[in-house]
C-alpha cells in the first residue's frame, strides 16, 4: 500500500496497463505534452511516446468515434475527454455507436473503449464547466458507467475497465484528484464493476452515494453519529452495472434511505435508485426515500450561489432527519 492521490492512482493504473498490454493507448486533447488538463496523464508521453499517448485536435465527436473504430480494430483505446461537458459534442458517437454497436450488429462487434472524463462542480467554473452528466449515460443501455470515489477505486476500477470488453464512461470528479488514499501497489489490483462498497456500517439509515458525494455522506454520518443516529454509507462505485442488491439488503435492515449525488435533482441517478428501492423494499420502508442533489439550475459563478447549488453534508444531515 502507498498513500497517493486519486490523480496519481489513475496515472499508475494507466502506466501499469500500458506496460501490460500493447493494445492499450491513450488519446485526447492535451493528454501528451501538456500532461492532461488535470495532469492525470502527466509524464506518460515521455515514458511511452507519441504512439501510445496521442495528442488530438479539438474534435470530440471524432476523438470518440475514432476510439470506437480503433476498438473495433482490435485496440484498447483510453479516450480522455478534457471534461465531461465536452462529451455533449461526442454524444452521438457515445450513444449511437459505442453503446449500440454490439447489439445492433447481432453481437458480432466488440467496443472495448474506455472514455475518461473529469466532471463535477465546486471550482467556480460556471454553467458550462461544472456539470455531472452520469445520468445521460446511465439512461443508455450498452455502456458501463463508473464513478470512483477513492484513490484505490480510481486505480482498481480503471484497470478493470481496461480488462473487460464493454465501452465504459469512466467519470472522475474534479474535486477528488488531490484526495489521498491508501492504494495497493499490486499490478493485478482490480476492482470489478457492479460491486458496491459499504464504507460505514450502521443500523438506522442507509445513505447511498457515489463519486465525490460519498465523502460528503461520510462527513454527514459523523455528524449524525454525534446526534445518536447510526448511518450506513454505501458507495455504489458503478451506476451501470448497478449493485442494487447491496442497497436493498441495507434498506431492509435500516428501513430508511437517502440517495446523495451531484447531478441535478430532476431525472438524476437518484431517481432510478429510489425507484428500485421502492420496487424491491416498499414494505420495509418507514419513510419515503429522500434525494439530496444539485439544485435544478445552471451552475452559477458566484461562490456563495455555487455552494448553495451543490449538495452538502448539512443537507444530507437534514434529509436523514426527515426520514427519522
Amino acid at each position: 500500500m502507498a498513500l497517493i492521490t486519486y490523480r496519481e492512482a489513475l496515472n499508475q493504473a494507466l502506466r501499469e496497463e500500458l506496460d501490460r498490454d500493447e493494445r492499450v493507448f491513450i488519446m485526447g486533447e492535451e493528454v501528451g505534452y501538456f500532461g492532461g488538463a488535470f495532469k492525470v496523464t502527466d509524464g506518460l508521453i515521455a515514458a511511452y511516446g507519441e504512439k501510445r499517448v496521442r495528442d488530438t485536435p479539438i474534435s470530440e465527436l471524432t476523438i470518440v468515434g475514432a476510439g470506437v473504430g480503433a476498438a473495433m480494430g482490435g485496440l484498447r483505446p483510453v479516450v480522455e475527454l478534457m471534461t465531461i461537458n465536452f462529451a455533449l459534442l461526442a454524444i452521438d458517437q457515445i450513444v449511437n455507436t459505442a453503446a449500440k454497436a454490439r447489439y445492433m450488429f447481432g453481437g458480432q462487434a466488440k467496443v472495448p473503449l474506455v472514455i475518461r472524463a473529469p466532471q463535477g462542480g465546486g471550482h467556480q467554473l460556471g454553467a458550462q464547466h461544472s456539470q455531472s452528466l452520469e445520468a445521460y449515460f446511465l439512461h443508455c443501455p450498452g455502456i458501463r458507467v463508473a464513478v470512483p470515489a477513492t484513490a484505490a477505486d480510481a486505480k482498481g476500477m480503471l484497470k478493470y475497465a481496461l480488462r473487460q470488453e464493454d465501452p465504459v464512461m469512466f467519470l472522475e470528479h474534479e474535486s477528488l484528484y488531490g484526495l489521498k488514499g491508501e492504494v495497493p501497489e499490486d499490478g493485478e489490483y482490480l476492482v470489478p464493476f457492479g460491486k458496491a462498497n459499504v464504507l460505514r456500517e450502521g443500523k438506522d439509515v442507509t445513505i447511498v452515494s457515489y463519486s465525490k458525494t460519498v465523502h460528503d455522506s461520510l462527513k454527514a454520518a459523523e455528524t449524525l453519529e454525534n446526534q445518536g443516529t447510526d448511518a450506513e454509507v454505501i458507495d455504489l462505485r458503478t451506476l451501470n452495472p448497478l449493485d442494487i442488491g447491496t442497497v436493498i439488503q441495507s434498506v431492509k435492515k435500516t428501513a430508511r434511505a437517502v440517495v446523495v449525488y451531484e447531478g441535478w435533482l430532476t431525472g438524476g441517478a437518484g431517481a432510478e435508485i429510489a425507484s428500485r428501492i421502492y420496487e424491491a423494499a416498499f414494505d420495509d420502508l418507514d419513510a419515503p426515500v429522500q434525494r439530496v442533489a444539485s439544485a435544478d439550475v445552471p451552475m452559477p459563478y458566484n461562490r456563495h450561489l455555487e455552494a448553495a447549488a451543490l449538495p452538502s453534508p448539512g443537507q444530507i444531515v437534514q434529509a436523514v432527519e426527515r426520514v427519522m
Partner: protein, 334 residues
C-alpha cells in the same frame, strides 16, 4: 483532369482480365436484382422499417471494392446493401436481415441500415449521416498502430459533407496520414434537398484541398473509373501517404427511401440519368470493346436473378430471433 481520369480508366480497363470484368458485371447485376426484389418485398410487407435502395449507384460500390484487397475494411451508411454485397456478403444473409430473421447478417437486430460482418471486414452501416467517418478514421488508426498493410474504404453521401464529423475526420486522417479512402457518393440530393441548397461548394472533391489530401471527382456511373481512382488511392494509403477524397457522381434511381416517391425530381432528369445506367453502359462496353458474347452476359443475368430468388426463399423460410434473446448481447458477457 477529366481527360487524365479517362486515360487512367482506359489503362485500368486493359489491365483487367476478362474474368474480372465479368465479376464486376456480375456484382452490379446482383445488386440491381437484389434491390429491385427488396422493393417488391417491401411492397408486399415482407420488409419493413426504413429501406434505402442503391439502384443506380452500383458502379461505385463494385468499382471501389474491386480496388481493395479482401482484408481491407469497408465502412458504410444506411444505403449499404450494395457495399455489403460487393464486399462479398451472402445475398441470403443480407436478405434475411432485411426480413428481420435470426439468420440475417446482423441476426435480425440491425435491419437494412445496420449490416455487419467482421469476417468480411464489412464494419457496419451507420445511420446517422456522417457517423461512419470517425469510425473509419479510428479503424485506420488501428491499422497504422499495428503497422498492418490494410486500408479502410469509407462510403458516405453528399449529405454528410456539411456534418462536423466529415471535417473533423478529414483533418484527423490527414494530420496522422491514416490509410483511409473517403468515397463520397454524390447523388445530388440529401433526401430531397439539392446539394447546391445545402453546401456552399458544389464541387465536393474540392473539400480535399483544405485538408491537404488528393481530391478527385469521378464518374460514378462508370465502374472502371471508380475502380481506377480507388486503386490509386488505396496504393497511396498503403504506402503511408495518407487519405484521399473521391467524389463519385451518381444518381439514385429510386427515392431517398421506400417511402419517398421523389416528387422533387423531374421525370426528364430521371430519364437522363436512366440513360446513363451503369450496368447497361458496362454491358455495352463488354459487348463492343471486349467482344464478349451476349449469351455470356445473359447467363449472368439469369444466374443472379436465381441467386436473388434463392435469397428471398431462404429469408422467408428462416426463423425469427427468439423473444427469449431480447436482452442478449447488450453487453459482452450476456
Amino acid at each position: 483532369m477529366a481527360l487524365e481520369r479517362e486515360r487512367l480508366a482506359e489503362r485500368a480497363m486493359h489491365r483487367l482480365a476478362e474474368g474480372e470484368l465479368l465479376e464486376l458485371y456480375r456484382l452490379m447485376t446482383l445488386i440491381r436484382r437484389f434491390e429491385d426484389k427488396v422493393a417488391e418485398m417491401y411492397t408486399r410487407g415482407k420488409i419493413t422499417g426504413f429501406c434505402h435502395l442503391y439502384a443506380g449507384e452500383e458502379a461505385i460500390a463494385v468499382g471501389a471494392i474491386h480496388g481493395l484487397y479482401d482484408k481491407d475494411y469497408v465502412v458504410s451508411t444506411y444505403r449499404e446493401h450494395g457495399h455489403c454485397l460487393a464486399k462479398g456478403a451472402s445475398p441470403r444473409a443480407v436478405m434475411a436481415e432485411l426480413f428481420g430473421k435470426a439468420t440475417g447478417i446482423s441476426k435480425g437486430r440491425g435491419g437494412s441500415m445496420h449490416l455487419f460482418d467482421p469476417v468480411l471486414r464489412f464494419m457496419g452501416g451507420y445511420a446517422i449521416v456522417g457517423g461512419g467517418l470517425p469510425i473509419a478514421t479510428g479503424l485506420a488508426l488501428s491499422i497504422a498502430y499495428k503497422e498492418d498493410p490494410e486500408v479502410v474504404c469509407c462510403f458516405f453521401g453528399d449529405g454528410a459533407l456539411p456534418q462536423g464529423a466529415f471535417h473533423e475526420s478529414l483533418n484527423m486522417a490527414s494530420l496522422w496520414k491514416l490509410p483511409v479512402i473517403f468515397v463520397c457518393e454524390n447523388n445530388f440530393y440529401g433526401m430531397g434537398t439539392l446539394v447546391q441548397n445545402a453546401i456552399c461548394q458544389e464541387e465536393l472533391y474540392r473539400f480535399a484541398d483544405p485538408y491537404k489530401i488528393p481530391g478527385v471527382r469521378v464518374d460514378g456511373m462508370d465502374v472502371i473509373e471508380v475502380y481506377a481512382a480507388v486503386s490509386e488511392a488505396a496504393a497511396r494509403a498503403r504506402e503511408g501517404k495518407g487519405p484521399s477524397l473521391i467524389e463519385a457522381i451518381t444518381y439514385r434511381f429510386r427515392g431517398h427511401s421506400m417511402s419517398d416517391p421523389a416528387e422533387y425530381r423531374s421525370k426528364r432528369e430521371e430519364r437522363i440519368w436512366q440513360e446513363r445506367d451503369p450496368i447497361k453502359r458496362f454491358r455495352n462496353l463488354l459487348l463492343h470493346e471486349r467482344r464478349i458474347a451476349p449469351a455470356v452476359l445473359d447467363k449472368i443475368d439469369q444466374e443472379e436473378a436465381a441467386v436473388v430468388d434463392d435469397a428471398v426463399k431462404f429469408a422467408d423460410e428462416s426463423p425469427e430471433p427468439p423473444l427469449s434473446e431480447l436482452t442478449k448481447n447488450v453487453y459482452v458477457e450476456d
